[in-house]
Each structure stands twice: as C-alpha cells, then as structure tokens.
Symmetry: C2
Subunit: 430 residues, 2 copies
C-alpha cells in the first residue's frame, strides 16, 4: 500500500506551534506514514530569524524566503503557522497557485479572508484545512463540518479563549480584580505582553466568525461579530453573579434566529449558572457547547492553545489533506449555500442582570419598573438593598432584545432617582 | 454544482433510529442535498412488519425482503439500523458486493466482525461508516480516526452506556438500591424489558472494542475486552465512594501500556473523584475522555442514545459517504497497522478500594498489611471501624496490577481474622 514518493511538506513559521509540528513530524514519522499511506518529508522551514538554534531541525532546511519556498512547485502541503494577515495571506494563495494544499492555524486570517482563501483553494483544486484555528486541540471544525452535516445546528456557545478564561477563573476563585488576575496570567505565560487581542475579545470574535460560518453554512465576516471585551468585569460583578448562583465567562455565542431566517454572532462576558457545564471550565481550558435539532446538546472540551495541543490539530489536518492528495481528491470546502443574513446585536434576545444605584426613597422601584414595562422588557426578579440614604436595585429580566434593553437603560439613566447604572451583564446558558 | 441523478439510499430497519433517519431525510432534504452535492432519494425501507403504520414513509417503499433490496444493484448507500448479528451482517456484505457503501449504527456487529466487514468494504472499494455505533450523537469515531490522526492516543475513558449511567446516577442521588433504580429506569423507558446487554456491560464492551481499535490503530476483538456489569453495585458502595470524595460510574477504559507495546480494554464499575468531569455526567448522557501525547485531555459529551441523536450521527455519515461517492473516492478504512497485542486484565494497573469484614482484635491490621506487602501491593490509606466485636477495614491501594490485587485478595480470604471481603472496587480517573 505504501507509496515510495514521500509527501513534501513546507512549514511556514517555526515558533510555539511550528516547532511542535516539526518535532512530531519527526518523532511520529512512522505513524504518520502508516495513517496517510505515504511518508511525509519536511521540505523546508520558513522563519524570520535564520540563525536561531532550532532543536531537531536540519539548518539546511531553514530559509527566510518563504515566498521562494511556496513557489518551489513540488510541495504537496504547506503548513502556515506564522500568524497575522500578511505575509500569511499571500503565502497561502501563492501555495495554492503552485499546487500545494494548505493547513493553517491562523484564526485572524481565516476570520477576515476565509471566503477568498476557500475560493483560491477550490479554484486550484486544493484543500484548505484549519482545525487548529479554533479552540486548539479540540476537534470542533471537523465535527461541525462533517459529523453534524446531517443535522441542523441552532446554537454554538463556548469558551474559546484560554487567556481570558484563566483571568476570569482567577477572579472567581480568589476574588482578585481584573488587573491583578491579568498580571498573574502574564507572569505565568498565559497572557502575552500585549494582551489586547485576548482581553478585548478580538481573538474570540475571530473564532466566533469561523464557527458561525461553518455551523450555519453561511458567511459570517469578522465585522458581523458583536464584540465586547472583559476588561471591565469587576470583583463586584462576580459577587453579583454568585448571589444569582452564577459565574462569569467570556462567551462566544453563535445563534440561529428562532424563525431560522437569520443568524447572529457575538462575544461578550456573561453570567452563566454554576450548574451549566461551561461554568466549571477552569484555567486556560476551552469548551464549546453545540445545540442541534436532532443531536441535542453536545459539548467539546480540551486545551484551547499551547504548542503541542495546537500541533495535534495541525497534524490531524495534515493526515487528512495528505490522504486526499494521495486519493486525488479534496475534502469538504466552504459550505455557505444557506446565505443567511447576519442580524445586528439589537435583534439578539437574551436575559440581563442590571445593577442600578438609586435614591433610597419610596416610589423608586415603581418608577424603574414602569420604564422596563414601557420598553417591553419583562422583569423576572428585583432585589433592593439600602444603605446610608443610597440604595441599589438589582434587576434580572426575562428574555428581551438587546435593542429593547438598550432603550430601557437609556430611559433609566434619565430618571432623577437613578444615580447611575453600575453594571449590565447578559445572562446566558439557561 | 448540483448533479441531477440523486443518490439512492436504502434503509434497513425503521424502528427507533430508522424512523428518525427517514424523517430527517425528508424534512432536511434540501440541506442534505446542498451539503452532499446531490439529492438523496429513499429507494426502499426493509422492516419485519410490513403493515405497521409508519408516518411519513411511502408504503410502496416498504418491503420485508431486505435481501432483494440490497441486491437491487442501483443503490449508492445502505443504512443498516436493524441491529444484532444476523441478518445485518449478511445484508451489509451483500450490499458491498452489489456496489453500495454502508452506514451502520450496529455496535454489536461492528465489535464482533468489524475486521471482516472493513475487508469487504475495501475489497469492493466502498465505505463503511458507523459513528452512531458508539455514544450515539457524540462525534467520537471521526475525531479519533481523523482529528487525532496526527497524535498518539494513550487512553480512552468514558461513560458509553446511558441506561447504566441513569441507574447509577439515581442510586447516587437518591440512595436507592440497584433494583429500585433499575425499575425506575425501566418505567421511564431508559432500560429495556431485558436489560442484560446494558447492565452486564455487553453494550459498553462492544463500544470499548470499537474505540480501542480505532484509538490505537490495532484490532481489538470483543473477547479481548474484560467485562464486569454493575448489578452488584450497592448503596453501601456509594456510601464508601462518598467518604472518599468519589462517585461510581460504569466505565469503558482503553489503555496503552506504559511501554507502548500493548493495549488493554475493559468495562467495569469504578469509583472516580467528584472533581473529575465524568463524575458530573448525569442521567442517560454519555461522555468520553481521550488522552493523547500532544493534545492532552479532551472530552466529548452528549446524548448517547435516542432516535433523533443517533439519527444525527447516521446522517452525518450519510453526507460523508455521499460526498465520497460523488467524488469517486472512499474515506479512511480500518487502520490496524499497529497490530499491538491486547494484554489480559491481570496486567492492568490501577488503584483499588477494598472493604474487609474483620475480627475486632489487636494485630488484625498488621496481618492484613503484611498480606498486601507480600503481594507487592502498596497501601495508600486504611480506615478501621469497629462496632460490636465486628470491625471493618477499608483499604485504598496505590497503583497495582490486577493480578497482584487478585493474589492479595485470595490470601486475605484465607486469614482467620478476615471474615469476608465485602467489596472490591477500582478507583479511576486520578
Ligand atoms: N500558540 C498557540 O497556542 C496557538 C494556538 C492556536 C492557534 N495559534 C496560531 O498559530 C499561529 C502561530 O502561532 P505561534 O504561537 O506559533 O506564533 P510564534 O511563536 O510567534 O511563531 C511565529 C513563527 O513565524 C515566523 N515568522 C514570523 N514572520 C515571518 C515571516 N515574515 N516569514 C517567515 N516566518 C515568519 C517566526 O519566525 P522566528 O522563529 O524566526 O521568529 C516564528 O517561527 C498563529 O496564527 C496563531 O494564532 C497559536
Ligand atoms: N435506539 C438507540 O438509542 C440506539 C442508539 C445507538 C445505536 N443504536 C443501534 O441502532 C440499531 C437499531 O436500533 P433501534 O433502537 O432503532 O432498533 P428497533 O427500534 O428495534 O428497530 C429495528 C428495526 O429493524 C427492523 N427489523 C428487525 N429485523 C428485521 C429483519 N430481519 N429484516 C428487516 N428489518 C428488520 C424492525 O422492523 P419492524 O419495525 O417491522 O419491527 C425495526 O424497524 C441497533 O444496531 C442499535 O444498537 C440504537
């Protein structure tokens, strides 16, 4: 069965992920060969700093000219683990034009240019696989794209960023504030020196765009994803969450509207009940819930990042793409036939937890309740707490649209008796 | 892109699972067509009782002659959801011989004859897919076979039978005994009139054989799986488990030996710590942990049975197999190249919780400890409880082989001071 000609693989990038890909390609060479049906050969490694010592990598394979590498014309598979938009994008399209299939872990690029990259792959009759781009080692893209291909997915709800989950978990378990927890995450290597992409939700938003597109067989652009970071979550928010039997997670949520005619995708911190399986996802782990018509609720859990776990996902794709090459075929490409519109955040329906600082005098609750009623937002529970002439009102609503809630809050701010809106947080997973 | 010739699908069996497959094929016809690239047409439905009213099924398609149906010669895909060994086995091989690919949910058959069926598929250049055979809707076979194809799986540990999990969960949460919990499971439709296959672990053992084979790229026969049912788990066992911060689950465990040179597969009740994610799997849900070199720990969770969830898995396979047909290719077949020997239960290494009824007199503990030491089984903790001249000793061991533990227990039974061995339970998931 075994072909003698090896599959030639070029590695673009040899950092956290790439070095692990190279390592496993060497240590597990026999297994990979048996599973693909042909040996794989590392044909070249493109990096920025050619002189860096890279254990286990033949220096003769290392180059700084990634473009020349992908233009060689004899490559079967290009593994792109450089990250960012350029030069990754041009290198990938050049690889397709020169006959290679591509495996990438690049969520930022896939979320921004997935459609064009898929088109380039299809035009050249090549594969574009990127399991590693979402939730690291956790098999998610393949299950959504293939295992659930006979089902109708209605909702994807998950923790897809390990850095922020580490920070929020710290805040929850130790009572630390955001900055303190971030400092610890940085010290332990869970957060980068510039944590913006994680804590402002950009990374999770890219993953949400990718997941929504695959789950709903439609195109969801990065700009379509409503994004709120978690830098403003406070210890007080965690205290409020606890009182409700909840914790706070940064969630990526992709939903099909109830009438099935549109979808939404969003990233924001939210309270979820402690009884929800996502509530007990600790540290830098990721987990994703998928709800479908026939299969009901599925959950996928595992390490969402790290060199080795991400390399595992890359290599799973490498085996699949390698098998496709040998079989002269390609796997499933982009599936965007449903072409559903993406609704704006205003149409998202969920529950809310709102803390108001109010004057401690009679009639305030009635005033506040009237504002909610006027905006069609129905109240589930209210808790009133008075101290020193000041008082706070904690309102938890029934399901309402983001637009209706926004209107309510705007009107509340105009009430004389409302001194301020201390916090607004969505309540999910019920 | 859409071909006009539809893919012809025959349904063998139209019971709990088959009727849902037929329903979804009708209601989701457009989506299936878009995802496969050609419409699917239900070409025939084989059942035992032709006159039973079957909602949504054209009576003209129904036949009792399954053999004639699979011999038609114009079928693209045969979906086997009859169950059991015969006639399912002959029907599947006949289907291959007449040019069809096969999707099956039949764990009993796959565990017993998987190798021969895979060979028949390969000989005829056809696909054999069976995601639904293990853990219902949960994508598990595809992730193991494809997503983790670039990794080295060392362990699969899971709850793969919903009926027994329902019963154990009831015993745990209500303090009920086995019979009482079984009666409730039967009344609620979670257990069949004859629950033997579930409660004696036959169903889980079939799944363990399938999972071990795929995870370790080797052949594991049903006979290779050590199997113990859960009918002898008592309320007292749950009380002991609780004292240790554990609960009891019926686990399927597939392991690679530490030296990598052999594998084991087993099904038995075991204590697992409450902090382990499998401990909180409630009711009839299933969940499977997978541990690999690079990816670390992954977990897959969802409904392990039921008509619609199982049909979701069947239809996912149908889409994949349909795409392969259109592309003139086949997916990954059996991967048994590793050809690892399956070790016997004696070589399995784990921890044990042992309750002994002993005479309440000085020196008993020393005697008992000596027996453990003589057999090379190291003790982690001992708890001694005396009441009315009788006493009990609860011993929790460090990791030891099943053979060593067996020898220890045999020797303990011969001690005058040991009145009886009240229970032995393995401790997993630590
Ligand atoms: N790290 C994770 O846990 C993780 C998880 C999931 C997905 N990902 C994704 O995987 C990708 C790689 O991440 P990483 O953490 O491995 O990044 P990294 O450690 O920063 O490595 C980047 C690599 O790309 C090389 N490189 C940078 N610019 C280049 C250029 N212009 N030409 C050639 N090589 C260039 C670097 O070369 P030098 O070695 O010479 O600097 C380095 O080897 C990103 O898309 C990331 O989002 C990462
Ligand atoms: N039920 C689940 O939750 C579940 C989950 C995972 C996997 N599975 C697997 O799925 C398969 C089907 O299970 P099920 O629960 O759907 O079984 P079921 O409800 O008993 O249905 C069996 C079907 O097969 C038909 N049948 C029986 N003998 C036949 C024969 N000789 N020729 C033609 N048709 C025959 C029956 O016909 P009549 O309708 O005329 O009786 C019935 O339609 C089994 O392999 C099972 O292990 C089931």
């Amino acid at each position: 069965m075994m072909r003698t000609r090896p599959l030639k693989v070029a590695l673009l990038g040899c950092g956290v992920v790439g070095s692990e890909v190279a390592r496993i390609m060497t240590t597990h060479a026999d297994d990979l060969a048996a599973r693909i049906g042909a040996p794989v050969e590392l044909a070249g490694v493109a990096v920025r700093r050619p002189d860096k010592v890279r254990e286990g990598i033949d220096p003769a394979l290392v180059t700084t000219d990634a473009t020349a590498l992908v233009k060689r014309g004899d490559l079967d598979i290009v593994v792109e683990v450089i990250g960012g938009i350029e030069p990754a994008r041009t290198l990938i399209t050049t690889a397709f034009e020169h006959g290679a299939s591509v495996v990438s872990a690049n969520k930022a690029l896939l979320a921004q240019d997935g459609a064009a990259l898929h088109a380039a792959a299809e035009q050249n009759g090549r594969d574009l696989y990127y399991e590693a781009a979402v939730a690291g080692a956790i098999p998610l893209i393949r299950p959504l794209r293939e295992s659930l291909a006979g089902d109708k997915v209605n909702r994807v709800l998950g923790i897809v960023n390990g850095t922020t989950n580490f920070i929020l978990d710290k805040m929850d378990t130790t009572g630390a504030g955001y900055q303190e927890a971030l400092d610890e995450a940085t010290a332990l290597g869970y957060a980068e020196a510039d944590p913006t992409a994680d804590v402002e939700g950009f990374d999770a938003a890219a993953k949400a765009a990718i997941l929504a597109g695959i789950a709903f067989h439609t195109r969801v652009r990065l700009d379509d994803v409503h994004r709120e970071g978690m830098t403003e979550v406070t210890a007080a928010d965690f205290a409020s969450a606890k009182e409700m039997g909840c914790t706070i997670k940064l969630l990526a949520i992709c939903e099909r509207a109830e009438d099935g005619a549109s979808v939404t995708a969003r990233v924001h911190p939210a309270m979820i009940p402690l009884s929800h399986p996502l509530a007990s996802v600790r540290g830098a782990y990721n987990a994703v819930f998928v709800e479908s018509d026939a299969s009901g609720q599925l959950m996928f859990y595992g390490p969402g990042a790290g060199g080795a776990p991400t390399a595992s996902a890359v290599l799973g794709d490498l085996v699949a793409v390698g098998r496709n090459r040998l079989g002269g075929t390609t796997g499933p490409g982009e599936s965007a036939y449903a072409a559903l519109p993406v609704s704006s955040m205003g149409e998202v329906v969920t529950r809310y937890h709102i803390s108001l600082d109010v004057a401690d005098k009679p009639g305030v609750l009635a005033q506040v309740a009237t504002v909610f009623a006027e905006h069609g937002v129905s109240i589930d529970t209210v808790r009133q707490q008075g101290k020193d002439g000041e008082a706070s009102l904690v309102v938890v609503t029934h399901r309402a649209s983001d637009a209706a809630l926004g209107g309510t809050v705007e009107a509340l701010r105009k009430l004389d008796t409302v001194r301020g809106v201390a916090s607004i947080m969505r309540v999910e997973g019920e």
